[in-house]
């Protein structure tokens, strides 16, 4: 701003000086010039007149000389001569004045020229200053432009930086959105898993309750039956023993002696005693009848004459129990459990239809490694539940296709077919780094395994999957128990 103002001031000053320098530009200069021109003209006029007069004088001198030559000298010439001389003096005075004026004007002109030189110098100085100012201004402008350019560049850099930041933020936002989506998915999966677990828990609780009730019922019924069997056997044993006792205690001679003695006593008494005696004889007959009855009951069963050990009630009872041993309660429960296990879902008609269709042969075009997310999804509870459901449905459908209705109701053939030995030998179930640890073949066998977390556990023949720790899988093939592990360390001890 200061530079512009200075420039404006300089222009004004320059204009002023130019106006002064140019004579036609101001009235005063014009006037002076006119005066100079007039003086010059006057001087020229006077000089012309002086020349004329000189010529005239010369002519008169020539005339005088001629006259003198002629010998004529008159007074008229003298007067004229004086007049002319005066006039010449006047003219000379005027010329001197004019010369003085000319000198004055010359001086003025010199001064003017001097002033003009000064002004020229000033103009030059001002021009130089103007040029300098202009250069400085241009330089400043250039600097300003440069600064502005730098500022623009800086702004562009900042814009680029901010754009990059925005891009980064966008990416972060995308990632965040992806994470949020993942979290949402995880939450959904967790929720589904939780729901499935709750459902499973509920089902388990219900099935456990039902199973418990069934078991209690079966155990109660079984116990009642055993008790009844025991009771009947005991009654039978008691009855037998009583009979044996009676047989053993029976002595006919002493009885007869007693009876005779009593009869003798009674014979001497009144009719009432006779009646009494007749009653006693009935009793005897009954006893004799009983003896016959006992022999009929005991002998046909092949029971030999009582031995000493037969009299021992405990031994006898034990023997009887050994002969009529009831089925074990556990076996019965296991049979019931098997029936429960074989209660299959209603088979999916679509799966059955699909299985009945002819298989399509598809050519393998390409094999590639699966992305990691699929591996994770494979192990997610949601997918495992789907897989599990599919397995159940397919199993139900195959049973529907293989077995008839009667078999399904009885559960007779619901057990899966025996695995061929070659299949067992060739089978590779190393899908999840699961390895066969040990095979238990008989009741009572057990093995210990060391888990990765340092825990040592014992697994015995007959243990079910829900009773073994995580990382260990048990499967049954007929009678053999296969123990697989994925988290076990060390070897069997």
């Amino acid at each position: 701003m200061n530079t512009e103002k200075q420039l404006q001031d300089s222009n004004k000053l320059l204009k002023e000086l130019m106006s002064r320098l140019n004579p036609g530009d101001s009235d005063e200069d014009k006037q002076k010039q006119e005066e100079i021109e007039e003086v010059k003209k006057s001087i020229e006029e006077y000089e012309d007149e002086i020349e004329k007069l000189k010529k005239k004088i010369d002519n008169k001198d020539n005339y005088k000389r001629h006259n003198d030559d002629l010998g004529q000298n008159t007074v008229i010439d003298e007067v004229l001569k004086e007049t002319i001389t005066k006039e010449i003096e006047t003219i000379q005075t005027f010329i001197q004045q004019c010369r003085k004026g000319q000198e004055t004007e010359t001086k003025k002109l010199k001064e003017y020229n001097s002033n003009r030189e000064t002004l020229d110098e000033e103009i030059k100085y001002i021009e130089q200053r103007l040029i300098k100012d202009e250069l400085a201004k241009k330089s400043n402008i250039a600097k300003g432009i440069h600064l502005q350019q730098e500022e623009i560049n800086n702004l562009r850099k900042e814009i680029d930086y901010r754009n990059n930041s925005i891009e980064k933020i966008d990416k972060v936002m995308e990632l965040s959105a992806e994470k949020i989506r993942q979290y949402g998915q995880n939450i959904t999966e967790s929720y589904n898993r939780l729901t499935a677990l709750k459902k499973r828990e509920q089902n388990l609780v219900e099935s456990s309750k039902e199973e418990l009730i069934n078991k209690e019922k079966s155990i109660d019924i079984y116990a009642l039956r055993i008790d009844k069997d025991k009771l009947s056997k005991l009654e039978y044993v008691l009855k037998t023993l009583k009979n044996r006792l009676q047989v053993l205690m029976y002595n006919p001679y002493e009885e007869i002696k007693k009876q005779i003695a009593e009869n003798e006593k009674v014979l001497s008494s009144n009719n009432e005693l006779e009646e009494k005696q007749s009653n006693e004889s009935v009793t005897l007959e009954k006893v004799e009848d009983k003896k016959e009855e006992n022999s009929v009951e005991v002998d046909p069963s092949g029971v030999k004459e009582p031995k000493k050990e037969d009299v021992d009630l405990n031994l006898f009872i034990n023997k009887l129990f050994q002969e009529t041993e009831a089925p074990k309660a556990t076996e019965k429960v296991e049979a019931e459990e098997k029936q429960v296990e074989h209660k299959l879902e209603h088979p999916d008609e679509n799966i059955i239809k699909a299985l009945r269709k002819n298989a399509e042969k598809l050519e393998l075009l390409d094999v590639q490694a699966a992305p990691e997310n699929l591996k994770k999804e494979k192990l997610s509870s949601m997918f495992i539940n789907k897989w599990n459901n599919w397995t159940k449905k397919v199993t139900a459908a195959t049973i529907e296709l293989v077995y008839d209705v009667a078999d399904k109701i009885s559960g007779k053939k619901n057990e899966l077919p025996e695995v061929e030995q070659s299949f067992k030998d060739n089978l590779n179930i190393d899908g999840d780094k699961e390895e066969l640890y040990k095979v238990l073949k008989n009741e009572g066998e057990y093995t210990s395994v060391n888990l990765n977390d340092g825990e040592q556990v014992y697994i015995k023949y007959g243990d079910k999957q829900e009773n073994v720790p995580e990382g260990v899988t048990v499967r049954y093939d007929g009678n053999d128990m296969y123990i697989y592990y994925s988290k076990v360390k060390g070897k069997n001890r």
Binding site: L355, A359, L362, L364, A370, L374, W387, T391, V394, L401
Partner: protein, 84 residues
């Protein structure tokens, strides 16, 4: 006999199958496979049992239809326990 577990097989029906389990029986491979989405990012619900055969240097896969064979395969290619 290649291990194809955790691999994706593209078949001539233009579908991609992710191998969950593999079993070898009489020197032939059987698979529990699940179809994956076209972008190969997710598993679908289409699970199947496939039997691999080789004819004229070409590999073919057929869905297992024999119920007894299915039962045997399902018995041994068991669904893993939920570990999450």
């Amino acid at each position: 006999m290649e291990n194809r577990i955790n691999k994706i097989m593209k078949l001539s029906d233009n579908k991609n199958y992710y191998i969950l389990k593999q079993a070898i029986y009489n020197n032939e491979s059987y698979y529990t496979a699940v179809q994956v989405t076209d972008d190969m990012q997710h598993l679908t619900e289409e699970i199947s049992l496939l039997h691999e055969t080789k004819e004229n240097d070409k590999i073919y896969l057929t869905q297992v239809k024999d119920p007894k064979m299915i039962q045997l395969l399902l018995k041994y290619m068991k669904v893993p326990e939920v570990t999450e």
